[in-house]
């Protein structure tokens, strides 16, 4: 129902995206959608997902993105659209690195991003936990964030899951405790009777199915909701955090 009939307008066929013979209106709508989404995602967005989003063939999306990147470059924007780690993202332009460094050094941004803090919090409260489980809870790929947290020494590998995948399990470090000014994990504020959403419980269960709930229980985190009582098979709708990170 979307497909605007191609109007006779030939335009300039030299652009890569135009080569796909998309109607100009649709093209602009798609371009805007891509810009909007890319502006707010906190991990590089895979072309496949973007293609689904705008319902265009992957190569048309790729062409649109290349066009956009060129356009920003020619407008000498302070940001650029780049392809990294298999996805696309906005970042500050390399030419402007000194400004950004200055900003970062000013201490104004010397904090974890909201996304990173959430990830860290999940690891802190649910350790030991695999990357896939964290991703399932946050609903996005967390590889980059987890790498950053590990590089900064806040989290580290603490073992492997017994399950078939032998997933690496993460936990917080001594350094983390020191930064927070506490002696051990039991000093973290208790989760109390806070009940997370069903899909979170599910995500945790999924990942730990082979080893069952023991793993969670002998860890100090207070107020864990009993994994048992969430047995109601919740339909999470999209249980594909797994392929979100692939």
């Amino acid at each position: 129902m979307v497909s605007e009939p191609e109007t006779g307008e030939p335009g300039e066929p030299e652009s890569a995206a135009d080569a796909h013979e998309l109607a100009p209106g649709l093209l602009e709508e798609s371009r805007r959608a891509l810009e909007a989404v890319l502006m707010v995602v906190d991990e590089p967005a895979e072309p496949g997902l973007l293609a689904q989003l705008v319902e265009l063939p992957a190569d048309a999306v790729e062409a649109l993105l290349v066009d956009l990147a060129t356009e920003y470059e020619s407008q000498r924007r302070g940001f650029q659209l780049v392809r990294v780690a298999g996805g696309w993202r906005f970042q500050s332009h390399q030419d402007c690195a000194p400004w950004v460094e200055r900003f970062v050094l000013s201490g104004q941004s010397a904090r974890l991003s909201a996304a990173a803090l959430e990830t860290l919090a999940i690891v802190a409260y649910k350790q030991p936990i695999s990357r896939a489980q964290v991703a399932a809870i946050r609903g996005v790929n967390v590889d980059g964030v987890m790498r950053t947290l590990q590089a900064r020494g806040y989290i580290d590998e603490v073992g492997r899951d017994d399950g078939p995948g032998l997933a690496v399990l993460f936990g917080t470090t001594r350094e983390f405790l020191e930064r927070l000014g506490i002696d051990d994990l039991s000093e973290l504020p208790s989760l109390g009777d806070f009940i997370p959403g069903a899909e979170v419980v599910e995500a945790l269960e999924q990942g730990l199915r082979p080893t069952d709930d023991l793993v969670l229980d002998d860890e100090g985190s207070a107020g864990d909701e009993a994994p048992g009582d969430s047995g109601h098979s919740v339909d999470t709708g999209t249980d594909d955090p797994g392929d979100a990170q692939e």
């Binding site: 129902m1 979307v2 502006m39 707010v40 995602v41 906190d42 689904q52 989003l53 705008v54 319902e55 993202r89 906005f90 970042q91 690195a97 950004v100 460094e101 970062v104 050094l105 201490g107 941004s109 010397a110 904090r111 974890l112 991003s113 909201a114 996304a115 990173a116 803090l117 959430e118 990830t119 860290l120 919090a121 999940i122 802190a124 409260y125 809870i137 946050r138 609903g139 980059g144 790498r147 950053t148 590089a151 900064r152 806040y154 983390f176 930064r179 927070l180 000093e187 973290l188 504020p189 989760l191 806070f194 997370p196 959403g197 069903a198 899909e199 979170v200 999470t236 709708g237 999209t238």
Partner: protein
Amino acid sequence: MPSVAYEVQTEVFEGPFDLLLHLIVREQVELYEISLAAIVDAYLAELARMEQLDLEIATEFLLIAATLVELKARRMLPDDDEVDLDEDLSLWEERDLLLARLLECKTFKDAAVSLARFQARAARSVARRVGPDERYVDLAPDLLAGVTGEDLLAAYRRAVTPRPQPMIDLFHVAPIRASVVDAVAELCAELPGAGRVSFRELTASLVDRLEVVVRFLALLELFKQGLVELDQPVTFGDIRVEWIGEASRAVSVLESVDAYDG
């Protein structure tokens, strides 16, 4: 006393003001001449129906009930000179106080609606909160500076709070352009011979709210044209739809309907 057909809907009233405002402002506007007695009775009835009240709320409800009952009693007294003027005055004072509180409460109720509007508008945009990328990570001295356990807890709660599902796979992502014309056409095909169906059934397969709205508009259109009978036995209940027209008239309907675009 005229028995006012008073049905307080099974709403949850969030407090005595909520209830009283509902009784006076909403109902009275509709029925205009409602007596104080009826308001008081409805209020007391509602109070009786509330099974579990925590003490604090109950007290507030009861205090107001007391004022109301007093007002009602005063009104029913024969209007002679025996009325103690002091008592009378203090009753007026109490009443004015109640009035003032009701007005204040109403003011904030309306302000809240306005806040919700702001929020809904702002929610259409999502902020970029990405932070410096990995090229800059090593520059910052301490990413956890100023972060407390409470912040961490808040972040955890944010992370595990249910949120809208990503719907990439389930939805046709293109903006939905539903037209009433199309919906009328569909209904004209579906309804004749279908007997009595419920609106819920008619919209069960629709995913987007706009589509449901458009179907509803289409139904109203058909109703206007006398082609369907609509019936809603219970307020806020399901609407029952029955085709009463001839199938052949459907075509002419189509031409008279405007197109709505999402």
